[in-house]
Amino acid sequence: MPEISPKLIHTLSLMMIFTSFAAVEARNLRHATTAYLFQALLICGLLASYALQNPSLFYWAATALVTKAVLVPWFLWRATAGAEQETKPIIGFGVSAVLAIALLLVMYWFTHAHASLFINLKGPNVPLAETNLAVAFTVFALGLYGILTRRDAVKTVIGLCLLENGVHLSLVSLAPTIRETALAGIATEVVVTVYLLLYIIAGIREKHGTTDTFRLSELHW
């Protein structure tokens, strides 16, 4: 069985976190989409690296390439045509960046130190599993942070994509023997959800004249 280089995994993982940060903090939606595209490619790279040990992950990597790195960015790119600037979020750039960095540090440190909460740690691949879980949960947390603090509907969709990426990445350590049908189901659903959400958001832009979720206020109570 070929060895996985821990250095490669660590580099890719660090870049995953960096792209998540960029996707959440970039004020230009197209820049955020680009950051997301890079993240999707990194996920494919990570999955392919892990696949050296567990060949069934090659299938997962290929699915991720089609859904995450091609379809979702394409939908996002189309949705941001003519409206590239994000609606100003609740929190200003500086504060938000500090908060996001604090969140990712805490999340990474916590999950890395407590990976045994999630999996039964044994065998030679413990450091890899720890890194994988820590990155997965950090990306998840940043996605959730994006959804909760951004006003722009398209930006919340990007947050949702990050959230899903985090969960999907965790499957590498948590569910390595999962069936292909289940993987295909999980991956397809994200794409369809993103498509439908952006379709509805296009309708919102047409009828409300904005994608600012704070101005969607017809329904209260």
Partner: protein, 537 residues
Amino acid sequence: MAEGTTSALPVLLVIVPAAVACLIPILGRTWLWSREVLALIGAVGAFAFSVWAAGEVLGGAVLTAFGGQLYMDALSALLVVLVSLVGLLATIYSLRYMKHHAEGGETEAAATERRLSAYYGWLMLFIATMLWACVSNNIIMLYVAVEASTIASGLLVAHYWNRRALEAGYKYLMLLTVGITFSLFGCVLVYTSGANILGGGRGLLVSELRTIAGQFPTTTVALASAFLIVGFGTKAGIAPFHPWLPDAHAEAPTPVSALLSGVMLKVAIYALVRTVSIFYPEHASVATFALALGVFTLVLGDLMALAQDDVKRMLAYSSVSQMGYVLMGFGIGTQLGLYAGLFHLVNHALAKSLLFLAAGAVIYSTGVRSISQLGGLAKRMPVTSFCFFAGALSLAGVPPFNGFQSKLALLTAGALIGSWWAVVLALATSLITVLVLLRAAKSIFWGEASAQISEVREAPAGLCATMAVLAVLCLAIGVYPQGVYRPLKAATVALETVSAPRHQLADRLPSQAVPGGRQFAWKAGDKVCTNRLLHTR
């Protein structure tokens, strides 16, 4: 229990509506009439196969397909029949209701007419995905099916494509997807722990996981149940994860509201209890948490319902509250508690679908949704008003309707384990429910008719017939609860094999309902199991 009879029925009852969903956009484009016909075929087919399969399951079989990937025991059968019954009635109701909006509705007639193909297609897919979730035994595919039902209903919620509907659709898809992602984490954690013990792909099957859940580490149990409760609880409308619910229920076309409230919430709570209850035997605190959350939900939902003027929003908040009652039953965790939860689940599905359809009939005839602007409709819409009152009395827990029976069982179960705080709160909230629903019913159907709705006529026969079926069912179950005793008991036992250690699986419920004794006969039957629970806690 895990090994069953291989059968094509669980596949067929999902495939038929799914296939119809694919055909409608293709054929409906050329022949406009075909979409209604196809939708009817799909709904009738799903219902027929569901009843057939349920008959076999009641006969003692457990149906499986694809090597245990699909699995249908009495609990699945109960849900499947419920989903396909309400699905069929909602489809019949749509035939007339959706035409009307096409003729003079809120948006352009031509655009709405075009979207009808999409409407019926998504409707069939929605029903198919809910049925799939009910028979799915693979824990990851359970998540996939539940999320698929969210996707299938997203555009149904936004169907009218106006400002309110779009806002509701966005919130619906976004909140439910985020919520359900938590449940994926939960499912994956359960899977991992299971795979550690069972090894390989076997860890994916719920029917096998439940036999080994006792060996999971406590921290995993805590994390997994938290994720599962947040995830599936969001979709089941459990407070505080319910904010999507009133918007979606109120803005969706009425037949879809009936489906969302009547059965989609039930499918979600089914997924919740199926997965979380595997931890009950060893971790009683999970059950207690569910009980507390249920009571919180039932109180909050009804208080919010009290403040509503829009009839559909009022019904939506009332759904939140009633889901709290269901969760309370599952949280009590005894045999009678589980029975009461399932019984209330069935009763709420029937009564709330009835109420939504009746509210839809009122909107159909008057074009008004605000309770305060309606009045005096009882003379002009006698069938609708009778049906609305039947549903309202049922949910309020007034005899002789079905809601009385299940609430009585629920309160008895709560009292038997000594959770008096829950019983008192549930009882007090029940009084608020009476106030909320009967006040609305009185205001809509009695009193003075305002000038703008003086020329109102009864809703068409197609609408009245579907409501009448549900009203008769509500009354029949209330008068003769023995009729649903056997399937409910079988479903309770199927769920309870999860929550009780294996050697205690003996029939503790009376094997036959005592005629005339009704719910009161339960007390004696449940004593034993309550004692057992007190001891094991």
